[in-house]
């Protein structure tokens, strides 16, 4: 039960969102694509040199910039 941000979560792992840090604009932006506390996701990949992270929520895949991904915290139940 580690608390990690999205950039620290290893690719291929599933996790649940526990915390999102950011202002109203950031929250409204991520919320619009279904990223909010309590949602389960799977991390698909991350690009080299602090590149974007891709995650899957339900049937949709979302690419998130590194800085934004650092503000989204998750808890993984998998070892």
């Amino acid at each position: 039960m580690d608390k990690l941000d999205l950039t620290q979560l290893p690719a291929g792992k599933e996790a649940m969102i526990t915390e999102i840090i950011g202002g109203q604009h950031m929250l409204s932006k991520v919320n619009a694509l279904g990223i909010r506390i309590g949602v389960k996701l799977k991390k698909l990949s991350s690009q080299a040199w602090r590149g974007p992270i891709t995650i899957q929520i339900g049937n949709s895949q979302i690419a998130i910039g590194f800085g934004m991904a650092q503000k989204i915290f998750v808890q993984s139940n998998q070892p």
Partner: protein
């Protein structure tokens, strides 16, 4: 008249549905944000004519991008209209996220009907939705559609008039709880295996395999564009011009007395019964041959490849892969999409910058495009002009332009105030492009080129003739000699090409052909023709997109960088 608004999340198929409903074809692609403006068409419902409006995609009624602002604007005006009906188009494979906008629409008390699109895909994905139950809960009609194949469209049309104001009640703060309950009550998921496309998805987004794949795809695309373009020219266009059109022109030339002002404007200079379609500069010779014979084949080839990439869903993935590089010039990876569109024509490219969030990003991408991204019409002519000097000349031209693009981007990123946001985008699933839709799209873009470009080309050729006839080119040539000749090392005659370059770049490059330039001069001329000014059509769109002040700034950057690059090249080469 009733007004029907197609509203929904990005990339749920609104534009395809719009084309199905109205017969008016608009460009639809497989990435979020293809539609950035308002388009309308008409439909007959029970004998009554109604207007249909395709609204840019929006995840919510709180706008985050320029395109979403356009959407909210349309929506706010529509709400005031008593005769407005809203078709909320939903991606059935992503019910939960899409319902967010649906509930927001319900809050506004507008007549609503839901179209669950991509219905065919739900079956492959193991998604089952109970339509009757959804209708009951949401308190509005729900129909299922597959806009691409046309399934369910008739049913949608017949039920449009049943759209009603939903009485569904919820608290704004509990919106996701309500959505969760709706989904639990209506949707069941069954287990399924990884599909073939999902495996490719993994390969193309993984950094180790993704970058080689991207390089391969781009290389193959450009190779194919050249092969297809050249084949059309060699096997179709040239035989037609040489064997069918030339005899007609020669006959006409005889009837016009083989010389005179009218003869020269219409047919150009014909030497010893030989027509040089590129150099003669007549309306019916060069004026037709440049757009139809030299540019059109490459336009068709380019849009075939681009449309395939668009419909497959590859472009947003490319955006993710190049995100790091693009951040160096102050924008995120998605800016690659308007830039690629700009290679076809800068006009739609400039409009597509609306998928970016901030003014700063749009300024950077548009300015760089106007300066360093030549359009396909110009590229095709550069191929023709530079071609026989071999690959080195081509490399010099496009390599320099790429260098200018990067360097200017770095400078703009460091000097412009503000920061650029990070990439944040939904990546669509891969879809096999639907052949009929693909061909339709290529045809629409080709027709658009013919309609927009050919008149300008003809006008350009006419102007050239008049300028020569009135000796204005000589006059301006002498006037600008210190810059054109002294600084850039080009002959005085090149000023004619630069003047025409304000109108059309393809004709401008064509005008360089008879000048007998050296390779060095050809390279410099091709580069400065790209850089000093976008064509008038692009310029007009940019004023609209950026505003006058920013456009003046962009124009100053254009002039300064053209002088610097032209002078430097003349010194170095």
């Amino acid at each position: 008249m009733k007004k029907i608004f197609l509203i929904g999340n990005p990339n749920v198929g609104k534009s395809t549905l719009f084309s199905r409903l109205t017969g008016v074809h608009v460009i639809a692609s497989n990435y979020p944000g293809t539609t950035v403006e308002y388009s309308k068409g008409y439909i007959r419902i029970k004998g009554e004519k109604a207007e249909v409006i395709d609204v840019p995609g929006s995840y919510s009624l709180e706008p985050n991008t320029q395109a979403e602002k356009v959407a909210l604007n349309i929506f706010s005006n529509a709400v005031k209209n008593n005769e407005a009906i809203f078709i909320n188009v939903i991606d059935a494979t992503n019910l939960e996220r899409n319902l967010n906008l649906t509930l927001q629409l319900i809050k506004h008390k507008v007549p609503l009907i839901l179209a669950l699109n991509f219905w065919d895909e739900t079956k492959h994905l193991g998604v089952h939705i109970d339509i009757t139950e959804l209708e009951n809960i949401i308190d509005a009609p729900v129909v299922t559609t597959s806009a691409l194949t046309g399934e369910g469209i008739k049913n949608l049309v017949s039920r449009i008039t049943q759209a009603r104001i939903s009485q569904y009640k919820f608290k704004n703060s509990d919106i996701w709880i309500d959505i969760g309950q709706i989904v639990t009550n209506t949707q069941t998921l069954s287990h399924r295996h990884h599909t073939f496309f999902e495996r490719i998805e993994d390969i193309s987004i993984h950094p180790l395999t993704g970058i080689p794949v991207a390089v391969l795809i781009l290389f193959l695309s450009f190779a194919l564009i050249r092969i297809i373009g050249e084949s059309i020219i060699t096997y179709i266009i040239e035989p037609i011009f040489e064997n069918l059109w030339a005899p007609i022109i020669l006959k006409l030339s005889q009837q016009l007395g083989e010389s005179g002002l009218l003869h020269d404007i219409l047919l150009g200079r014909i030497v010893d019964g030989q027509i040089n379609f590129v150099e003669s500069l007549g309306l019916l010779t060069t004026g037709l041959f440049v757009p139809v014979g030299m540019v059109l084949p490459y336009i068709i080839a380019f849009y075939l490849l681009l449309s395939f990439l668009e419909d497959s869903g590859y472009l947003p993935r490319l955006g993710v892969l190049v995100d790091n590089l693009m951040h160096k010039i102050g924008v995120h990876g998605l800016a690659i999409i308007p830039t690629l569109l700009g290679i076809g024509c800068n006009v739609p490219g400039a409009m597509a910058t609306r998928i970016l969030e901030t003014k700063r990003e749009r300024f950077i991408v548009s300015t760089l495009m106007a300066i360093a991204v030549p359009c396909m019409a110009q590229i095709a002519m550069i191929f023709g002009l530079v071609g026989h000097h071999g690959i080195i000349a081509l490399f010099l031209v496009f390599g320099t332009l790429f260098l200018v693009w990067i360097t200017l981007g770095l400078i703009l990123n460091h000097t412009l105030r503000g920061e650029s946001p990070e990439i944040f985008i939904e990546i669509p699933p891969y879809r096999l492009p639907y052949f009929k839709a693909l061909i339709k799209k290529v045809w629409m873009r080709t027709r658009w080129f013919l309609r927009e470009a050919v008149p300008f080309v003809l006008f350009g050729v006419l102007i050239i003739n008049l300028l020569y006839f009135l000796h204005i080119i000589d006059f301006i040539g002498n006037l600008t000699a210190p810059i054109i000749t002294g600084m850039m090392g080009l002959p005085k005659d090149a000023v004619g090409a630069i003047l025409i370059g304000f109108l059309r770049k393809d004709v401008a490059v064509g005008m360089l052909i008879p000048l007998g330039l050296t390779m060095k001069q050809i390279v410099i001329a091709s580069i400065i023709l790209t850089m000093y000014f976008p064509c008038i059509a692009t310029f007009t769109v940019l004023i609209k997109e950026l505003g006058m002040t920013d456009m003046i700034k962009a124009f100053a950057i254009m002039l300064i960088s053209t002088l610097m690059v032209g002078g430097t090249l003349n010194f170095l080469l």
